[in-house]
């Protein structure tokens, strides 16, 4: 399964090679042109018919993770975070370090040894380390170097009612959607962009949009889903299994009302479940894309994912399929002259 390969690949921001290679291999035969820009974005072009707009479709390849800062005298690895991770979820998680995928466990002082005060305060990054089973600094240095990237080690599992559990669904879910979209034929010109470094500030999208200069853009994401019992309904953001979610507003973007309306109508007319993502903090590549050059209207269509930015995110395959189907039908439905800039 493609989604399995995508989520099992490691691609912490700035280190997207593994993901990039899978994507290029997967889409090569289906696009007219493919290139990797200076920052590492993959840009895949499918030519369109005359009079139809150029559409940028974006999904980010990178995932949140960690990076090696130093190795201490005992051979334990000290690290920094790359992207937004809740420090409290780190203890006891398994990780993979560097290209050689060295196994490690994030360790901390055992509960037996913690005083009352320590038990009541979440552990900080500084109190954590990665144990790679090395006996000494020298031994550790043979396996791991400063600057090596660290990704969560987490199995891709299908479970429950058509659900999957994996790491990096934010945004391999979006990559999966975009790969699938590139395998279809359209009248519009498609600039499919798999961006780098979204998790640390929408950086790849900024330069990719400058280059693509499209009539409009759609961003595909794995997004927040907090539909659990103790959270009041007005803070759910999205609901699992209720279809892909269209963004209205986040910290960086007020999304195009026109695009939202058309995409929503496409889903409803075709009996595909769709929901709006409740406005909330956070952001995605649209934040940079829509402010590029003279302005680019943007929409974001996302697959709801519980527990994003953790090793164990959960999404519904039905929402994932709904996202692909909605986008496909919307793009195929664009008529000559629509959305074309003056």
């Amino acid at each position: 399964m493609l989604l399995k390969r995508l989520t099992m690949a490691n691609g912490v921001s700035g280190n997207e090679d593994e993901v990039r290679n899978i994507i290029i291999e997967e889409i090569r035969e289906h696009v007219d042109e493919i290139k990797t820009d200076r920052l590492g974005n993959v840009i895949a072009i499918k030519k369109g018919k005359e009079g139809f707009p150029r559409v940028m479709l974006a999904a980010h390849m990178d995932e949140v993770g960690m990076i090696v800062r130093s190795i201490d005298d005992g051979g334990f690895i000290r690290f920094s975070l790359v992207g937004g991770i809740d420090e409290r979820i780190l203890v006891s998680k398994q990780v993979l370090i560097g290209k050689d995928r060295i196994h490690g466990v994030i360790g901390a002082k055992a509960i037996h040894l913690q005083d009352k005060n320590e038990r009541n305060t979440p552990l900080k990054i500084k109190q954590l380390y990665i144990d790679i089973g090395a006996k000494s600094k020298e031994e550790a240095e043979k396996l791991v170097k400063k600057g090596d990237y660290v990704a969560f080690d987490s199995e891709f599992i299908e479970f429950g009612g058509n659900l999957i559990k994996a790491k990096a669904l934010d945004d391999r879910a979006g990559c999966g959607v975009l790969i699938d979209l590139l395998k279809e034929e359209y009248d519009v010109e498609i600039y499919g962009v798999f961006t780098v470094q979204e998790e640390i500030g929408l950086r790849g999208a900024k330069v990719a949009a400058y280059n693509a200069d499209p009539s409009f853009a759609i961003v595909f994401e794995g997004t927040l889903c907090s539909d659990i019992s103790e959270v009041p309904e007005h803070s759910h953001i999205t609901k699992l299994g209720k279809g892909p979610a269209l963004s209205l507003m986040d910290s960086y973007t007020i999304f195009s009302k026109k695009l939202n309306q058309c995409i929503h109508e496409t889903a409803v007319e075709n009996n595909i479940k769709i929901q709006y993502r409740q406005p909330s903090p956070g952001g995605n590549d649209a934040g940079e894309i829509h402010l590029t050059k003279e302005g680019i209207p943007c929409a974001a269509l996302s697959v709801p994912c519980r527990y994003i930015h953790s090793p164990s995110s959960i999404m519904s395959l039905e929402d994932f399929e709904g996202c692909k189907k909605t986008a496909k039908l919307f793009l195929k439905g664009i008529k000559k002259g629509e959305y074309v800039c003056e």
Partner: protein
């Protein structure tokens, strides 16, 4: 109907027209109709900025005043018909409590709060909007998730001042419109831009500036004052003239631009004051960083109680700002 020395009828219309960030359709239409006959060319860009061009041979000057206003967006409708909401731009929970909001369809709602043990814990997610309908079923016929509203408060013209919502920045739009109307032949090429989405991060000005690529940028916006009891120290007050910005969080005004505006004010005996603003920023912040850099400045209208439903400006400052803007735009041989 002209009250005193300004076109109060137009000002009232600008202030009462709906336009939270990202939803500037109605205010754009009002402004477009008002300025149509005075501009050589009018266009609307991809993000919705309204651009009115007055042709000329000299410097290319971008005048930016933002059309959008702060407001709220609905995030959820509960079974009893209460609406949860989030802010669009800088909305204070304390300023909002007990206020009324108005939606695009003119439905009015009241902002209430959950029971709190300590009012200091007041946050927007503890608050809701009540539109006076008994059930979700009834409410969603009119209002849904994603709908936006602006604050609702009357226009008051009293003594020498205006009290209203959204003086930030419809008063800037008013200044630009009046300048455009009164501007005779100009030696410069002027782009009057009524920008979108300033309140959420100077977004419209960024793309407009890229498109226009001006030689000089001038934003027209309100600024805070330091002339109320125990206010933060700030040397700007109502009635002391147009404010020429020196710096804020978004820009250090190019000394050349500051000196240019000052020189025009002095030469034409227009009362002015310098503005150094600790918090906040305006469209010039985005304009001056466009492309390879654009010298930019700001003419500010001093305003008390900014981002409340009861903002206050003095008429005299508004008139002086219009005069100052016109004289800057009419200046020949601008050396920037």
């Amino acid at each position: 109907m002209f009250v005193n020395k300004i076109n109060a009828e137009l000002l009232k219309k600008l202030l009462m027209t709906f336009g939270p960030s990202g939803n500037e359709e109605k205010i754009r239409k009002v402004i477009k109709e008002e300025i149509q006959e005075f501009a050589d060319e009018i266009k609307v860009d991809a993000l919705g900025n309204l651009i009115a061009i007055k042709k000329g041979k000299g410097k290319r000057i971008m005048v930016a005043s933002h059309m959008d206003e702060i407001g709220i967006m609905v995030t959820n409708v509960d079974d009893d018909g209460f609406l949860r909401f989030t802010n669009i731009g800088g909305v204070s929970p304390f300023m909002s409590l007990g206020q009324k909001v108005i939606f695009d369809d003119e439905t009015i709602g009241v902002i209430g709060m959950e029971k709190l043990d300590d009012i200091k814990d007041l946050k927007l997610n503890k608050m809701f909007i009540d539109v006076g309908l008994p059930s979700k079923e009834e409410v969603i016929k009119k209002i849904n998730v994603g709908d936006v509203a602006s604050f609702y408060s009357p226009f008051i013209y009293q003594n020498e001042c205006i009290i209203s919502k959204t003086l930030d920045d419809r008063i800037g739009c008013f200044v630009a419109i009046e300048a455009l109307k009164k501007l005779k032949d100009t030696p410069n090429e002027i782009y009057f831009v009524f920008t979108v989405q300033e309140e959420v991060g100077l977004r419209g000005a960024k793309t407009a500036a890229y498109g226009i690529n001006p030689d000089l940028g001038i934003a027209i916006d309100v600024t805070l004052t330091g002339d109320t009891p125990k206010a933060e120290v700030m040397d700007v007050g109502l009635g002391k003239g147009a404010a020429i910005k020196v710096k804020d969080r978004s820009i250090i005004v190019s000394p050349k631009v500051k000196d240019l505006i000052t020189e025009v004010a002095v030469d034409n005996e227009i009362p002015f004051q310098y503005e150094i603003l600790d918090a906040g920023g305006t469209d010039s912040g985005a304009i001056h960083l466009s492309r390879s850099g654009i010298p930019s400045g700001v003419i500010s209208i001093p305003c008390r109680y900014v981002h409340s439903p009861s903002e206050m400006v003095y008429i005299s400052d508004v008139i002086n700002s219009i005069k100052l803007l016109i004289k800057v735009l009419e200046k020949e041989k601008i050396n920037i």
